[in-house]
């Protein structure tokens, strides 16, 4: 299990994956997924009571825990956050689905997309993580790049520059795509009933 692998070995895996090793990727993903789950579970468990939890802090912490920072270059970091964002989304969905089963109706797991708005997690600005996921899945069907950008930025906490590096496109392109993608997302999530009704 993950414990048996040292940070520098994991870092080697990351390098190997970056160098094109599929095997390294296959070994890395469960490690990262496990670590994310453990951290998220701990944070979400009762003993870790708190009011709000920053998702990217978990990703970040996973990163800092798994890798030997001195040996990771910025490109490798981008790759890591690329898969971590995807995995984090999966972890959250699993959690939200469990919550839904428990709660039966109501909002399973409210999330907030922008902490700079001091509105608490309620009302119009709070989003159910399941809705967010559905919206992203719809966007994936329409525009994979935009969906990835959203995923990386929200679930991985990447900056524009880092996103550009992870997706190997120019920051200017990312900026443009990002602007439209978040507009699309806002419209999807802001309760336009017609669009959200299942077809």
């Amino acid at each position: 299990m993950p414990d048996a692998i040292s940070p520098s070995e994991i870092t080697q895996l990351l390098h190997a994956w970056n160098g094109g090793s599929r095997e390294a990727f296959d070994r890395l993903v469960p490690l990262v997924h496990h670590e994310l789950r453990v951290l998220a579970a701990r944070r979400l468990s009762r003993e870790w009571r708190h009011d709000r939890l920053q998702i990217t802090a978990i990703v970040n912490e996973t990163y800092l825990r798994l890798f030997d920072q001195r040996e990771v270059d910025w490109q490798n970091r981008g790759h890591f956050f690329g898969i971590a964002a995807q995995l984090m989304r999966r972890v959250l969905l699993d959690h939200a689905r469990r919550q839904t089963r428990k709660k039966r109706g109501g909002v399973a797991m409210p999330v907030e997309l922008d902490a700079s708005i001091p509105t608490p997690l309620h009302g119009a600005d709070a989003v159910d993580v399941l809705d967010l996921d559905r919206a992203l899945t719809r966007l994936e069907a329409l525009d994979q790049t935009q969906a990835r950008i959203i995923e990386l930025r929200f679930f991985g906490g990447l900056t524009i520059e880092e996103t550009a590096m992870a997706l190997a496109v120019s920051p200017a392109t990312i900026k443009r795509e990002w602007a439209v993608a978040k507009g699309w997302l806002l419209r999807e999530l802001s309760g336009d009933v017609d669009r959200r009704a299942p077809k």
């Binding site: 009571r49 009011d51 902490a115 929200f154 978040k182 699309w184 802001s190």
Partner: protein, 1272 residues
């Protein structure tokens, strides 16, 4: 929509975004043409994109944790609309925790800040409350004052001091010049450090220090906000402020939760200082970048960014910002570094540091050793004692501080002279216990709370807040209730002690109360003492002056006892302490230091006071504490002085608001209290929200300064204020009313306090209050009632002689049946207490009124007994049960009067007692009262063994019948009676083990379920001990015996004292204290009113005989016995088998001890053999070996070694099978000198080991008592 359609849409929208706003409609029209579907889509998406443009620029996905229920979000959505008390003025700010308002507090009459909270789970609310309380009593000028916490169904908020000010950074940076900025930074930093240190001292980590949480008022006062509340340890980094903002001020370790400690706060102080000095936080960037960078690199030195920054400030700043918390400056270092640069700019109150702690290494080692014992699962107690001001509290505080890093539960109390609440020494302990429990998660708490915890909640209401308030079955019997409560308390502490070491600390123990002490002693009583460390501190001068206290402390036989006497500090220590107190600039004046050292006499409290005096420019000579305090008080503002004087006069912890009000002031008392606190004049009390004088010495000096008239006035106003608020106890009201000279009100309050104490079973305290009430009460009807209350309380407190006096007094104030009944009670108390003559006189009067004669002599009584027993046999035990209402008052009274006599005479005159018991049995059968029949039957069972004359029934059948009749109401009491009398029966027939067992059972039943059972308990405890001694269990007997003897003396229980100090004199002798034994026996008999040669004199005689034998003065022993030979023929002695054996045995032993070898001794040996024959006649397994031993001794004296060896061997066998191991050991020892070789050696070793194990000090002398007449 397809992906192709979306790609087109996205292109159109991106294009539109590139156009100036005004051109966009035209652009869209061109691009979409006639395709209205895409046009609508594009317009909608464009609008959304524009709307989203400012959003999510630094996306941070936040999710709610499980601790927050969904309802809480709804709750938060509703703005706070104010309440009747709090009227909203405006919204000041908001954050993740809630919204902050400025409100008018109508009750306080001032503006306060009000912060709304999210609704949390039950556990969270308890935790919040606890935290709030611990913070609410923080009165520090550099910490925001918290006021009220309100949690109910509609709202959840707390209020605090409203601080108007700028942030730390702005305050510093407002100054244009770098020099002025540095000066401001230093000045504000000093205060910030004081605030943080105060929090840390209380075990609170702030966790979120940042510029917006550090405000500076216009007057330059630094106030730290938002501490401790509404966060859980280790969770701080996810609270809104940081999540939403930047983690710029958080320590690197806080991003990881790893080893977050107080060092994290110092990092934040450093970051805030850095920002103030340089204009920017140490790191800037996205949250993640900041978190990462601060872990990987050090910030640029402040002096590099702002070159004009003084080096020492920049260095201090960088030392605070060290990445490794272990390398960061500690709180003390910070203060030392800052003080070095910046002393003297703050007001004089804070230039003297908190008193440091010096020396006392030995004392600390002892405490540590005792603690280690407790941790290892044993119980230990430490008595810390020394004169006032020597540093007892400081020592214990320091010791407890050293435990800070260990998982220890510390429960602390302090006793107050002027506080008379039930269980006052335990009050604080219970408070801290409640606090601890409240903080535990529900599930854990439930697991800890023992059965019957609700009873505990009844005695200590504070425990009800932790759910110990489920309905308790109302116990008719208060003693049983108290027992339950105690058992629950013990179980609770036991469970806690299994989880972690528990330290109980009680300060100023010299003011403790008896009831608390009883509980405390019981906690650690063998056989299964709790693994606790109990630390008791008391003043040596009080200890010397109060013999009672001394006896109490000695009785606290708590596990392994350590004594820690505190002496004046050594000259080096004095110097060290002065050094830690005085700033360098004053400290340099060595002359002054020498003066302080001399004047203090090495007393740390005086050193502290003198240092303060020196700082404020006190005199150069050697002032007294009185002068110094006077000087310090004179410079205080009048309101502070008034407050202090009122507090000193009250002499107990008070709610500051009440004192403030009593002084005639209105508004907020907190600033005043904070000032007095920092000047070390007052401190927060351990009982929650109260304050008290900083030291008892200060209180004494201050109280003495107040003129008597003024003091009266203070008490009068205080009483009025307390009554107006309806918030104080009768005990307190009594103190104030009495001191104010309101006799009438004081009498009422005292009676109420007495009733309250009785209700919680603190009978001794109840006695005190009833006496106070009596002394003050004028109204004769009220006085009569109080006397009756007093008599009852005394009876329940087990003080029979005092109770008798009170009953007689009460009888004089009553009429008719009441009067007679009280006289009967008085007689019973007198008899129980050992005032036999007086008791008989009173009871005779009583009997005359109901027509029952009292048999004069023993012979008459014996005849009467025989006659009545025959009558009983003829009559049988059948009866027709009647309800009590059908019985005549006279009948019942006659029965009860007989009962009183039976009880009173049972042990001193068993024949007459047995006679009266049969009489009451016959009457009860005639009347048909099952309870009274049962009671008499139980006693008859015992008497039939003791005085078998004409007794037919087997005692077992009597006991069984008694228990059948007892019914549910009296089952415990009747059960206890049959056990006691069964035990006595077993004792007189030599079944020691059975007697021990039955008496122990009776003790338990009586203690747990019965009240007012002094007599029954006396019997049960006595015979329990007697049987132990017969079995040779001297060590265990001694343990119980000492405690009982003390309590008997203290309570004026003459009977018990007599029995214990005569019958058990073997215990004295084992301890080689023959002289003490004699003095004790003399005193006990002298207190006894009966004259002539009655049982008391008989018991004393036997004691003296034993002592003479022990001392080797056989002639005196023999003479003593011979002088009373005639007396032994009286029925009182002849009729009791045990006494017959006893007298024969001692006479034989004395004869043998005295008999010389050869012809000259023949006569005495004949006497011994004659007595042996008498013993033979009794044919009891326990008495036979005595006769065997006597014959063996005679054989030995006659040189018949073979006969002696054989006899001793048989005696050993006989004693062993009768379980009389000490006697067997004595015979072994004697035998060992007659047989040679290995066998002799084995015998000697066995005997010696047994005696040593039982703590026999002088085996040689001891053998002279048990087996006299052998060559030594």
């Amino acid at each position: 929509m397809t992906s192709a359609e979306y790609a087109r849409l996205k292109e159109i929208v991106a294009g539109a975004l590139g156009c100036p706003d005004a051109d966009r409609p035209a652009y869209l029209a061109t691009q979409c043409g006639a395709d209205t579907t895409i046009r609508v889509e594009a317009e909608s998406l464009l609008a959304s994109v524009l709307r989203a443009a400012p959003l999510y620029e630094d996306p941070t996905l936040l999710i709610a944790g499980d601790g927050v229920t969904l309802d809480a979000f709804e709750q938060l959505g509703n703005a706070f609309e104010g309440t009747a008390r709090y009227v909203v003025r405006r919204r000041i700010g908001e954050g993740g925790m809630g919204i902050v308002y400025e409100v008018d507090d109508r009750e306080r009459g001032q503006a306060v800040a009000l912060k709304t909270l999210r609704r949390w789970s039950g556990d969270d609310i308890y935790r919040l409350k606890r935290e709030f309380r611990s913070l609410a009593d923080v009165a520090h000028p550099n910490l925001v004052s918290l006021y009220d916490l309100v949690i109910d169904d509609d709202a959840c908020f707390f209020t605090m001091e409203l601080v108007h000010g700028t942030t730390f950074v702005d305050y510093v940076r407002q100054e244009p010049s770098a020099t002025a900025r540095a000066a401001r930074a230093r000045e504000a930093l000093v205060q910030l450090i004081e605030g943080v240190l105060e929090l840390h001292r209380r075990g609170i980590r702030h966790g979120d220090i940042k510029p917006s949480n550090v405000l500076v008022s216009a007057a330059g006062r630094v106030v730290l906000l938002d501490f401790g509340l509404a966060t859980n340890v280790g969770q701080r980094e996810f609270i809104n402020g940081q999540v939403a903002g930047t983690p710029a001020y958080l320590s690197p370790e806080q991003s990881f939760d790893a080893n977050v400690s107080t060092a994290s706060d110092w990092y934040s102080v450093g970051a805030t200082l850095y920002h103030a000095l340089t204009g920017t936080p140490p790191f800037v960037g996205t949250p993640r970048e900041v978190i990462e960078r601060k872990m990987l690199v050090d910030p640029e030195p402040a002096a590099t960014i702002a070159p004009e920054t003084p080096d020492e400030l920049s260095e201090l700043c960088m030392a605070l910002l060290r990445r490794d918390p272990a390398l960061r400056l500690s709180g003390r270092e910070v203060r030392a570094r800052v003080s070095a640069v910046e002393l003297g700019t703050v007001d004089s109150g804070s230039t003297v540091s908190a008193p440091g702690f010096v020396g006392r290494a030995d004392a600390l080692n002892t405490l540590r050793a005792a603690f280690e014992m407790a941790r290892a699962g044993r119980s230990a107690s430490v008595m810390v004692h020394g004169p006032s001001g020597i540093g007892k509290s400081a020592l214990v505080q320091h010791f407890i501080d050293t435990l800070a890093n260990e998982r220890v539960l510390v429960l602390r109390s302090r006793c107050h002279e002027h506080e008379a609440i039930p269980y006052k020494a335990l009050d604080g302990v219970i408070d801290s216990l409640a606090g601890h429990l409240r903080a535990l998660p529900q599930a854990e708490r439930v697991a800890l709370v023992p059965r019957d915890a609700a009873a505990l909640g009844r005695l200590f209401p504070v425990l009800r807040t932790i759910g110990l308030n489920e309905d308790v079955q109302d116990e008719a019997d208060p003693i049983a209730f108290r027992r339950k409560a105690f058992t629950a308390f013990r179980a609770l502490l036991g469970r806690l002690a299994e989880r972690q070491p528990v330290v109980v600390d009680i300060d100023d123990f010299h003011w403790a109360d008896v009831d608390s002490i009883t509980w405390l002693t019981e906690l650690l009583r063998p056989p299964s003492p709790l693994s606790l460390l109990v630390v008791l501190s008391f003043r040596s001068e009080e200890f010397e002056a109060k013999p009672f206290l001394r006896s109490v402390v000695e009785r606290i036989d708590i596990g392994t006892r350590f004594s820690v006497p505190l002496f004046p500090l050594s000259p080096t220590e004095i110097d060290q302490l002065i050094g830690s107190l005085l700033p360098v600039r004053i400290g340099a004046a060595s002359l002054q230091r020498a003066a302080i050292a001399h004047a203090s006499g090495g007393n740390p409290f005086l050193i502290d006071a003198l240092a303060r005096d020196a700082v404020s420019g006190g005199s150069r000579g050697e002032p007294t504490l009185d002068e110094m305090l006077t000087r310090r008080l004179d410079v205080l503002p009048p309101e502070s002085r008034a407050f202090l004087e009122a507090l000193a006069v009250c002499g107990r912890p008070m709610l500051p608001a009440r004192v403030f009000e009593a002084c005639g002031y209105r508004g907020d008392e907190r600033p005043l209290v904070a000032r007095l606190r920092s000047a070390h004049l007052v401190r927060n009390s351990r009982s929650a929200d109260r304050v008290e004088m900083y030291h008892d010495r200060v209180r004494e000096v201050l109280a003495a300064r107040v003129a008597p008239d003024a003091a009266r006035q203070i008490h009068a106003v205080m009483a009025r204020v307390l009554v107006a608020h309806g918030d104080d106890d009768p005990e307190a009201l009594f103190e104030h009313h009495r001191a104010a000279g309101h006799t009438e009100l004081a009498a009422i309050a005292a009676a109420a306090a007495g009733g309250k104490a009785s209700a919680v079973l603190a009978f001794d305290l109840a006695v005190t209050f009833y006496r106070e009430a009596l002394a003050l009460e004028q109204d004769s009807a009220q006085r009569a009632r109080r006397v009756a209350d007093l008599a009852k309380a005394l009876e329940k407190a087990g003080r029979p002689i005092e109770a008798a006096t009170a009953y007689l007094d009460a009888a004089q104030r009553a009429h008719g049946d009441d009067q007679i009944d009280r006289r009967r009670k008085a007689a019973e108390m007198l008899l129980i207490g050992g005032q036999i003559d007086e008791g008989l006189r009173v009871i005779e009067e009583v009997l005359r009124t109901v027509g029952v004669p009292l048999a004069r002599g023993h012979a008459t009584a014996l005849a009467s007994l025989a006659f009545r027993r025959l009558q009983l046999r003829w009559r049988g035990f059948e009866f027709a049960a009647q309800p009590e209402s059908r019985m005549t008052h006279e009948d019942l009274f006659r029965i009860d009067a007989c009962w009183s006599i039976t009880v009173g005479l049972a042990m001193v005159d068993p024949i007459r007692a047995a006679d009266f018991n049969v009489r009451q049995l016959l009457s009860a059968l005639g009347v048909g009262d099952p309870y009274r029949i049962a009671r008499a039957l139980a006693l008859e069972g015992g008497f039939s063994v003791l005085i078998p004359v004409a007794a037919a029934r087997s005692p077992r059948a009597l006991y069984r019948r008694a228990e059948e009749l007892a019914g549910s109401g009296g089952q415990h009491y009747i059960g206890a009676l049959t056990s006691v009398w069964g035990g006595i029966g077993a004792f007189v027939t030599g079944k020691w083990a059975e007697a021990t067992h039955l008496c122990a059972r009776a003790v338990t039943l009586l203690r747990d379920h019965c009240t007012g059972v002094t007599w029954e308990l006396n019997l049960a405890q006595n015979f329990f001990l007697f049987s132990l001694v017969y079995q040779g269990e001297l060590r265990e007997a001694a343990h119980h015996w000492r405690r009982l003897l003390e309590s008997a003396r203290e309570r004026g229980n003459f009977y018990l004292e007599l029995e214990l100090s005569t019958r058990l004199s073997l215990i004295w002798l084992a301890a080689d204290q023959a002289l003490e034994a004699e003095r004790e026996a003399d005193e006990a008999v002298a207190r006894w009113s009966q004259r002539g040669f009655e049982r008391p004199q008989y018991l004393r005689l036997l004691t003296l005989v034993q002592i003479r034998l022990y001392l080797g003065r056989a002639r005196e022993a023999w003479d003593l016995l011979e002088r009373h030979r005639a007396d032994f023929r009286r029925p009182l002695f002849r009729r009791v088998q045990h006494t017959r054996v006893e007298t024969a045995n001692w006479r034989a032993r004395c004869a043998l001890a005295l008999a010389p070898r050869g012809e000259a001794g023949q006569h005495l040996r004949a006497v011994a053999l004659e007595e042996a024959q008498r013993i033979d006649r009794e044919r009891m397994p326990w008495s036979n070996p005595f006769a065997t031993l006597i014959r063996a001794t005679v054989a030995c004296q006659q040189g018949d070694v073979a006969g002696a060896t054989k006899g001793l061997t048989a005696a050993i066998e006989g004693f062993t099978s009768a379980q009389m191991h000490m006697h067997a050991a004595a015979c072994r020892s004697r035998l060992s000198t007659l047989v040679d070789g290995e066998h002799g050696e084995t015998l000697r070793t066995e005997a010696t080991r047994f005696m040593t194990d039982q703590d026999v000090r002088n085996a040689l002398a001891f053998l002279r008592v048990l087996a006299p007449g052998f060559p030594e």
